[in-house]
C-alpha cells in the first residue's frame, strides 16, 4: 500500500454547476465512496441538517465552507477538495454555478487537467452547459468529461442519453476541445460513479471514477518548447559555495539538460547549462513543472523576470499582444488606464488599446458593437506593454501564454488573459 501511495499521480479537475444539478451530491459521493469523509465531519453535517429540519443528511453541507454559504445554501467562492484512491490523488476546484460564475470558473479552470460537466438528463444541454464548456475550451482544459446525471429519473433510457450526447457534440464542434467523454450516471443512486451500473448495460464506456483514475495526463504539459522563467538568483556567498550563482525557477515548458545551448532573454546572451541543481544534488534533466536551480557556464547578468530558453527555439518578444480577457472585478476597464501586467515572473505596465469584441459565452457570438466590459465578461482585446513580453500562445503553453492585470490603485487582480 505504501509503495503504491508514493507512486501516485496528481489530477486536478474542476466542477461547476448550480444548486439543482446534483453537483454537491456527486462530489459528496466521490468523497464518501473513496472514504475521504471523516466521521466527525459527517456528524457535524448531520447535526446541521437536523437543526434545519431536513430529514436527509444534506451532503452539500460538506462542500460549503463559510458561514454565509451555509446560512444561505449557496457557494460563494472556489473551494478546493481533496481525495485519493490507490491510483491517484485528486484536487477538485469546486466552483459555484451562479454568483460570480465566470470569475470563479475561470480561476478553477486555470490549473485543471480535466473539467467535469454535469447535465441533468431531464433538461439536456442548457445555457449553463454551454457556458461551462466554452470556458473549459477557452482555458484549454485538456480533457472534458460530460456526466449526464439523474439517469434514474429518465428510466435509465439509452435514447435520452444519446440525444443529449448528440446535442452536446453539435455544440462542442464549435469549440477547441480535444478529448470529450460521456458517462450516464446517477450521483444519488451511485450508478456509474464508482461502481458500474447494472441498470445501464448499454453503456460500454468506463465509470466516472475509473475515467478519473486512468485518463492519460502525461502529455498535458508542454515538453517541447524549453522555457525557464527566473524567479530569483541564488548566491550563497559561503566558503563552500563562494562563486556559486544559480537561477531558481520552475520549468514552464520543455526538457532541460546540462550541456544544452541556451539563450537568456531579453538580453540575448548565449551560454550553456552547467548544472541543474536541487537540494538532493544535480539532476540529468528537468521538465515542467519541476522547481530547480540552473547554473550557466558563463558569468552573465541574469535576474528575476528573465527567461532561459533553448537557443534554437525562442518565444515571441512582443509589446503589442492580442489576448482573450476575462474581466474579474466590478469596475470595468478605464479609458487610457495603465495596469500592471504580470506574465510568468515578469512585470511591466500595460494599457488596453482596443476591445475588439465581447464574447457571448452561451452562444459564442462575437459582438463587435458592444465594447462596455464589466465583471465576468469575456472579450478579445489588444494590449500595449511598456516592455516586451516573452510569450507563447496560450494554446501552445498555458504557463507562458497567460497574463494577469493588476489595478495600480487597489492592487487587485482585475483581469486574466490568454495570449492568442
Amino acid at each position: 500500500m505504501m509503495r503504491g501511495y508514493l507512486d501516485m499521480e496528481l489530477l486536478r479537475f474542476t466542477t461547476a454547476g448550480s444548486v439543482d444539478d446534483g453537483k454537491s451530491t456527486l462530489i459528496g459521493r466521490l468523497l464518501y465512496d473513496s472514504k475521504s469523509i471523516f466521521e466527525d465531519q459527517l456528524d457535524q453535517v448531520k447535526e446541521t441538517s437536523e437543526r434545519r429540519g431536513s430529514e436527509e443528511v444534506d451532503l452539500a453541507l460538506l462542500t460549503d465552507g463559510l458561514k454565509d454559504e451555509r446560512e444561505q445554501g449557496i457557494t460563494i467562492d472556489v473551494a478546493y477538495r481533496y481525495f485519493a484512491t490507490p491510483k491517484r490523488k485528486f484536487i477538485i476546484a469546486d466552483t459555484p454555478g451562479h454568483i460570480q460564475y465566470t470569475r470563479n470558473m475561470v480561476t478553477g479552470a486555470s490549473t485543471a487537467n480535466l473539467a467535469l460537466i454535469l447535465i441533468d438528463a431531464r433538461n439536456g444541454v442548457v445555457e449553463q452547459t454551454c457556458r461551462h464548456s466554452v470556458i473549459a475550451s477557452l482555458l484549454q482544459i485538456p480533457h472534458l468529461v460530460v456526466c449526464v446525471n439523474k439517469m434514474d429519473l429518465v428510466s435509465y433510457d439509452e435514447i435520452a442519453f444519446k440525444k443529449i450526447k448528440n446535442n452536446f457534440e453539435d455544440f462542442a464542434s464549435k469549440l477547441d476541445v480535444k478529448d470529450v467523454r460521456f458517462i450516464p450516471i446517477s450521483a444519488l443512486k451511485g450508478d456509474n460513479v464508482v461502481n458500474r451500473s447494472d441498470k445501464m448495460p448499454w453503456h460500454e464506456g468506463a465509470t466516472l471514477l475509473y475515467t478519473l483514475e486512468n485518463i492519460h495526463i502525461g502529455s498535458d504539459q508542454n515538453h517541447i518548447d524549453c522555457r525557464f522563467p527566473v524567479q530569483t538568483v541564488i548566491r550563497p556567498k559561503t566558503d563552500e559555495y563562494h562563486d556559486y550563482r544559480g537561477y531558481a525557477g520552475r520549468i514552464a515548458g520543455g526538457v532541460f539538460k546540462p550541456g544544452d545551448e541556451v539563450t537568456v532573454l531579453p538580453s540575448g546572451f548565449a551560454s550553456k547549462i552547467k548544472s541543474i541543481d536541487t537540494f538532493e544534488g544535480p539532476v540529468l534533466e528537468a521538465f515542467a513543472p519541476m522547481s530547480v536551480t540552473i547554473s550557466l557556464e558563463d558569468d552573465i547578468d541574469v535576474s528575476r523576470g528573465d527567461m532561459i530558453v533553448r537557443t534554437n527555439n525562442k518565444p515571441d518578444s512582443k509589446q503589442d499582444i492580442e489576448v482573450m480577457l476575462c474581466w474579474l472585478n466590478n469596475k470595468g476597464p478605464m479609458q487610457r488606464a495603465k495596469y500592471t501586467i504580470r506574465h510568468t515572473t515578469f512585470e511591466a505596465k500595460a494599457m488596453i488599446r482596443e476591445i475588439r469584441y465581447k464574447l457571448d459565452i452561451s452562444t459564442l457570438h462575437r459582438n463587435e458593437e458592444e465594447k462596455s466590459i464589466g465583471a465576468n465578461d469575456i472579450c478579445r482585446a489588444s494590449l500595449r506593454t511598456t516592455k516586451p513580453l516573452l510569450i507563447d500562445s496560450y494554446r501552445r503553453n498555458r504557463n507562458t501564454g497567460s497574463i494577469i492585470l493588476v489595478d495600480e490603485a487597489t492592487n487587485e487582480t482585475i483581469a486574466a488573459g490568454m495570449v492568442i
Binding site: Y5, M290, S291
Partner: protein, 300 residues
C-alpha cells in the same frame, strides 16, 4: 508511468518551492510562522530546499502562548540552532501583562484566541509584509477557501468574500503599506501527504507525535494532557498510551489512543483514520464557524 511525469508528492513539493521563492522575490520582509507542529516543520524543510545551497531568507516567528508542550519548545530551539535560522518570539504573556489582551476565565480557558493580538502586534512591530504558514485547505472548511497568497488589511483581517482570484501560477502579492499577506505553501497538501513526505524525507518531528505514555483526563470527548496550566475538578487522572495528531497549546490539544511509535505506523494509522486530525482540538469546537471567525480576526 510515462517518462515526464512527477509523482504527486514531487509535484506538490515543486509547487510549494515555487511559492516560497515567489515570497522571497515579491516581498520586502517575509517570515515563517513557526508553531513547532509538523506542518510548519514541513514549511521550514521546503524553504531549505528552495534556496539551497544558500540559507533561506526568512526568520522563524513563534507566537509563544506560555502554554506549550515542553517538547515543542525543545524541538524548536534545536531546529533553530541546526538551521542557523533567526528566531523571533512573540509573547502572549507579555501582551497580557501590558494589558493588550485579557486571559479567559474558567475551566476551559485557553490562550488560543488571544494569541491573535500577539501575532498581529509581532507582525506590526517587525514590519513583516508576508507571513508563511503551514495551514492546509483540507484541515478545516473555511481553510478550503483560502488562497495561496491571502491578503490581510491593515487590521490583519481576512475578508473571505472578497478575495483576489488566483489564476495559473501567477501570484499577486502587491499590497499597501500596513497591510500584509499570509502565504500558505502547503495549501494543496493533505494530512496524508504531509506524513508521507515526512517519512520519505526522513524528517525529524517532535516526540509528541509518536505514541507514548502520558497522564491525561477525559474532557470534551478527548484525552487532555495533565499540566500545570489546566484547571481540574475531581476528574480522574489516568495513564494512557497515546499520541497527538496536531500540536497546539497543551491546554487544548487532545491525544488519541495509539500504538503508532514509528513513522511507518503513523502513516498506516492516518490511512485508516475515521476522524479528522483537528477533531481533538478544543479551539475548533467552540462553534461551527470557530475557525472562520478567528481567521477573520487575523488568526493563523
Amino acid at each position: 508511468m510515462t517518462k515526464y511525469n512527477l509523482t504527486h508528492l514531487k509535484e506538490l513539493e515543486a509547487e510549494s518551492i515555487f511559492i516560497l521563492r515567489e515570497v522571497a522575490a515579491q516581498f520586502q520582509k517575509p517570515a515563517i510562522l513557526f508553531s513547532g507542529g509538523k506542518d510548519s516543520i514541513c514549511v521550514v524543510h521546503l524553504a531549505r530546499k528552495a534556496f539551497h545551497p544558500a540559507k533561506f531568507p526568512f526568520p522563524l516567528v513563534h507566537i509563544d502562548t506560555g502554554h506549550n508542550f515542553p517538547e515543542t519548545i525543545a524541538f524548536r530551539d534545536n531546529l533553530v540552532k541546526k538551521m542557523g535560522a533567526k528566531l523571533i518570539i512573540g509573547s502572549v504573556q507579555k501582551s497580557i501583562d501590558e494589558g493588550r489582551a485579557s486571559e479567559e476565565k474558567g475551566k476551559n480557558a485557553s490562550r488560543n484566541a488571544i494569541q491573535t493580538v500577539t501575532l498581529l502586534d509581532t507582525i506590526e512591530d517587525n514590519g513583516f509584509d508576508a507571513c508563511l504558514g503551514g495551514a492546509r485547505r483540507d484541515e478545516e472548511k473555511s481553510r478550503a477557501k483560502e488562497r495561496f497568497f491571502s491578503h490581510r488589511d491593515e487590521f490583519g483581517q481576512w475578508d473571505p468574500k472578497n478575495q483576489r482570484p488566483e489564476l495559473w501560477n501567477i501570484f499577486n502579492g502587491k499590497c499597501q503599506i500596513g497591510e500584509h499577506f499570509r502565504v500558505f505553501p502547503l495549501s494543496n497538501w493533505t494530512e496524508m501527504d504531509v506524513w508521507q513526505y515526512i517519512l520519505t524525507e526522513k524528517m525529524e518531528i517532535p516526540s509528541l507525535y509518536f505514541a507514548h505514555q502520558r497522564d491525561v483526563i477525559w474532557r470534551n470527548n478527548t484525552w487532555l494532557p495533565v499540566s500545570q496550566y489546566i484547571q481540574m475538578d475531581d476528574e480522574e487522572v489516568v495513564t494512557k498510551k497515546l499520541r497527538f495528531r496536531t500540536l497546539g497549546d497543551i491546554t487544548i490539544t487532545g491525544g488519541v489512543e495509539s500504538k503508532a511509535d514509528t513513522l511507518e505506523k503513523i502513516v498506516e494509522e492516518v490511512a485508516s483514520a475515521r476522524h479528522t486530525e483537528r477533531g481533538n482540538r478544543a479551539d475548533d469546537k467552540r462553534s461551527e464557524t470557530a475557525m472562520e471567525d478567528r481567521k477573520k480576526e487575523g488568526y493563523f
